[in-house]
Each structure stands twice: as C-alpha cells, then as structure tokens.
C-alpha cells in the first residue's frame, strides 16, 4: 500500500533563514506518526507545507496522492487541521462553530455526534471565550474532524493543558485513530510521543535525525542508568566507585546517587548485600525517549560541526 503522506527532500527558507533543510519521511495509513523536535527545529514549517499553508522551495510532497500546492482545493476536503495557537471568535458558541465548519465540507461528519464524542455536548451553548484550555483544544480537534478527513494533522495538541486534560486528549486521539484516521502529531513532549505515536520522526535543525518507533529510539540511545538510594549504614564511596560498571558516585543529603551502565544496578545491590547494607528508597531511572532525544540531537549537532 502506498504511504498516505510522503515527503521527500523538503526544503523551505524564509529569507536567509533555513527553516527546513532536508526532510524526508513517509506516513502509513492508520498510524499515529509523531514529528518530534526542539523548538525551532522546523516541525511546524514541515506540517504547514503538508497542509498547503506554505509553498515549499524544493522537494516533493504527496498527501493521499495529492500535491498540497497544486491540488489545494481537494486537499482541504480530505485533510483535517489543528493549528498551533489558532482561536475562534470569543462570542462564537461551540455548536455554532461546529455547524459552521461542517457547512464547509462536501461530505461532513455529523457534528452533533462529534460534539458528544468529544465531551462537548453540555458546552454546546457556551461561548469559545468561556471554555477552559482543555475544552478549547477538544473543540479544535472536533473542527479538524468535522469534515470527515482521512488524515488529521495536529500541531502542539496539548501545549498549555493541565496533566488531566492532556491525558484525556491522548485518549481521544487514540479513539480517532481507531476510526481509521491517519494522524500526524507535532509535539515537543516526549511523554506524549512515547504514549501515542507508532513511529516518530526526530527533527533537529531542519533535518530528520531518525525515524523509528519510540521504544526502538529509546533503546538505541546508549544511555546510562541513574540509581539513587538511602543506605541503612554508611558505605565507602570508593568501594562503589571502584565497581567497573559505575562511572560516578555523588551525594545529595543522605542520598547516594550513582550513574553507570546498564549492569550498574546489579553490581551495586550485590555489593550492598555483601556488606549487609539495605538500600532504602531505591530508585532507578531507565533510559527514556527523552534521553534518546537529547543524545541523538546532540550527536547530530556534533557531526555537523
């Protein structure tokens, strides 16, 4: 099956500033594809070229077989968009907004059902200006879906939301995907990418660093383990530091903090056991997508310089 979205060697500059240098990736039908990267990496410009909001300077883009520049009219029928920082008139009511936007499309979804699904039914008569951040975001998602799109591009979906609203929104996105909509998600939240995305394109300085699943990305980064505990009796730092798997030992109050490779935990606990010391409040931080992100983007900048 051909990919739903294919981007090849996309290049876009604003004056002297190169926003997107060379970006290529393909999005498969039915997946949640994340575009992850630090601020200013070129994520938003990339999706704006996909949405047809900006004209690319070089490269090829195909969305559902359409060229966003040439076939914009048709593209807007089939691609739902949620923009970063886009609002509605403050005095427009939720139901009015949905009814208005559904009138734009050839074959819209039932906006009342959508309003129910997104938990906005009891806010139908509430003005946009009076909605909470999470409700505004849900309405914005509803508007992206009201045209019955096959692809939805969502930019900075949960920025500014509280943790509960963020989790609710994630559940919603999974629900949308289960209805067969392919989703492109722009984010700079690792947790969001890890939780939602089937695959991720990691973008830094206008280039794709890598494309992979969140788990594979985290694994690829050879990140050290961080261990912390409160020893039941004093332990000589040198004994710990001499362990071959340990690279660093420090203290914070009466906590011992150890960094080391993936075998460090075993080595440390057996040393403590031999000396009859109990590790209280033991915490181990595993390599996360965030570590992978930092490491991969750092490597990338190194190789450039």
């Amino acid at each position: 099956m051909p990919p739903v979205i294919e981007v090849r060697n996309l290049h876009k500059r604003y004056g002297d500033t190169v926003a997107v240098d060379d970006v290529s990736f393909a999005v498969q039908e039915g997946e949640i594809f994340g575009i992850l990267g630090p601020n200013g990496a070129g994520k938003t410009t990339t999706v704006e070229c996909i949405e047809g909001l900006r004209n690319r300077d070089r490269g090829e883009i195909s969305v559902l077989g359409l060229d966003p520049q040439r076939d914009r009219a048709e593209l807007t029928q089939r691609v739902g968009v949620q923009l970063q920082d886009s609002q509605l008139p403050d005095r427009l009511r939720v139901a009015e907004a949905l009814e208005l936007y559904s009138s734009f499309y050839r074959d819209p979804t039932d906006w009342r059902a959508l309003m129910d699904t997104l938990g906005l039914a009891d806010k139908a008569d509430t003005r946009f200006g009076k909605l909470s951040g999470g409700q505004k975001q849900r309405l914005s998602i509803a508007l992206a879906l009201v045209g019955g799109p096959r692809v939805a591009v969502l930019d900075e979906l949960t920025t500014g939301l509280d943790p509960q609203a963020r989790r609710d929104t994630w559940a919603l996105i999974e629900d949308v995907r289960s209805r067969g909509v392919t989703i492109v998600l722009v984010t700079h939240f690792m947790e969001e990418a890890e939780r939602l995305c089937d695959r991720l394109a990691l973008i830094d300085a206008g280039r794709v660093v890598t494309v992979d699943s969140p788990a594979a990305l985290a694994e690829r980064a050879q990140v050290q383990q961080r261990i912390q505990f409160r020893p039941s009796a004093p332990v000589d730092d040198r004994l710990l530091a001499d362990l071959p798997d340990v690279t660093e030992v420090t203290h914070r109050g009466d906590l011992v903090l150890i960094t080391g490779n993936s075998n460090a935990l075993g080595a440390v606990t057996s040393l403590l056991a031999r000396r009859g010391v109990v590790a209280q409040q033991l915490r181990v931080e595993q390599a996360s997508l965030e570590d992978a992100f930092v490491e991969l983007t750092a490597k990338h900048s190194d190789s450039k310089n």
């Binding site: 949405e51 047809g52 909001l53 009219a73 807007t76 029928q77 691609v79 968009v81 923009l83 920082d85 886009s86 609002q87 509605l88 008139p89 005095r91 427009l92 009015e96 009814e99 208005l100 936007y101 009138s103 734009f104 499309y105 050839r106 074959d107 819209p108 039932d110 009342r112 059902a113 508007l143 045209g147």
Partner: protein
C-alpha cells in the same frame, strides 16, 4: 441529523456562505461595537438634535432648510463611517491576529468568504440603519424623505464603497484588532469634521470647504444633501467617492494578508 448525500460543490459553497453570513451577523450583534456606535449612537443623536426646537425651524443661513435637514445626511455619513471604517477593520484585523483567517485557509471555503460575509453584514446593517434613521426623522421630526431618492441611494452606496475600501486598507495595515480600533477611531474624527458633524460644510471657511470636497465623507455628505433636496448628486462628488473606493480597494487587496 446527518446529511450524507454530497451536494453539488456550488450548492455546498452557497450554503457555507449563507451559514457564514448568519454566523457573522450573530457575532456582530454580540460584539456590540457596531450596534451601539454604528446604529444606536446616530439614532440617539437624531433624537437629541430633533428635540431642539431651533433645529426644526427653517433658517435663512441654510437657504430655508432646517438644521435637521442638513444634519440627517451627516448622520447617514456617521452610520456609514462607523460601520465601514471603524467596526469592520476591528473584526478583520482581530480575526487575522487570532489565527482565524489562517485556520479558514485550511478549509475548502477559504478566508475570502469570511471577508464577503463581513461586507454583507456591514452593508446590510448600513441599509437597515439608514432606513430607520430616515423613517424616524420623517415621522418624529418632520424631515422630508430624500426628494431625489435614486440619487440618495447611489450616494449612500458609493459612500459605503469608499469607506469600506478605506476600512479594508486599515485592516490590511493594522497588526491587531486593537491597532485597527485605534487607527479607525483616529481617522473617524477628522473625517466626521469634514462631513460637517460639528460645523455644516456650507458654514466652513473656504479652505476647509475645499478640503471637505476632496475628503470622502465631505463628498458623501454633499451628495446626500443634494439628493435629499431633490437634485441629482454632482458627478464630481460621486467620482470622488468612486476614486476612493478604487484606490483604497486596490491598495487593500494588494496589502491584505491572511496571516
């Protein structure tokens, strides 16, 4: 309720425009700037002027007309200016500032339609308000309806075209809704001065009269007063308004950005 049959694109677009005009009109009423300042305030001025007995007495200085005869066209110009030059740019620049026009660019109808809807709402409000103004002046204070009615309609529409063009120009330049409000309000007072709100044009010093004739509202008020008294408006005044409409309309079209 679910409409699953795909209507012909033209019908779909017509219904989108209808829905948009309806929505923009509702918002217009809720925002209140237009209804309060563009409709309520000129009507209040009419009632105040109309309640002053000396305003209803024919005056030799005004060639046998009453002050009110002269002021009704000025109030029509007030309505047109408030709705086209002040209220319209605030909405459009605000929509751009809030990313609403940009969001519409990602839909099949595009942002052009919201512009059309806004123009429809403004024009519709002008027409209704002017009709109410003339009716109140006639029934409440005995001001005759425009004697050259066709000329009055043409002059009003040209005034709307000229002022909307300037309003769109302001909307093109203003980065925010607040900036548009400031610019529109700043332009409003000198424009209304040359329309004769404070001093009838006929009583202005000669220099100010010349400026007034070249100003869009001065030309509008002259044309409205002439047609109110039964003369077809002078082509120079109609031409002045048309020129403002074309020049500022083109400049606005060139400068206007959706985002």
């Amino acid at each position: 309720m679910s409409v699953t049959t795909a209507p012909a694109p033209a019908t779909a677009k017509a219904s989108a425009l209808r829905r948009m005009v309806l929505t923009e009109f509702k918002l217009y009423l809720r925002e209140r700037i237009g209804p309060v300042w563009g409709v309520g305030f000129p009507l209040l001025l009419l009632v105040i002027f109309g309640s002053i007995p000396s305003f209803r007495r024919p005056s030799a200085d005004l060639g046998g007309l009453t002050e009110l005869d002269v002021y009704v066209p000025v109030l029509v110009a007030f309505v047109v200016t408030m709705l086209s030059l002040v209220s319209l740019p605030i909405v459009l620049a605000g929509y751009r500032e809030r990313g609403i026009l940009r969001r519409l660019r990602t839909t099949p109808v595009g942002p052009g339609r919201v512009l059309i809807a806004q123009l429809c709402v403004s024009l519709g409000t002008v027409v209704v308000t002017v009709a109410v103004l003339l009716a109140v002046a006639r029934l409440g204070y005995g001001v005759a309806l425009p004697k050259q009615f066709g000329g009055f309609v043409v002059a009003t529409l040209l005034a709307v075209a000229a002022l909307m063009a300037v309003g769109l120009f302001v909307a093109a330049l203003a980065p925010t809704g607040k900036a548009a409000q400031a610019i529109g309000t700043l332009l409003f007072f000198p424009m209304m001065f040359f329309a004769g709100l404070w001093l009838p044009i006929a009583q202005m010093p000669r220099v100010l009269q010349h400026i007034s004739h070249a100003a869009p509202l001065g030309a509008a008020v002259q044309a409205l007063q002439d047609s109110a008294q039964g003369h077809w408006p002078h082509p120079l005044q109609l031409g002045t308004m048309a020129a403002y409409a074309v020049v500022f309309g083109l400049a606005a079209a060139k400068l206007f950005r959706w985002e």
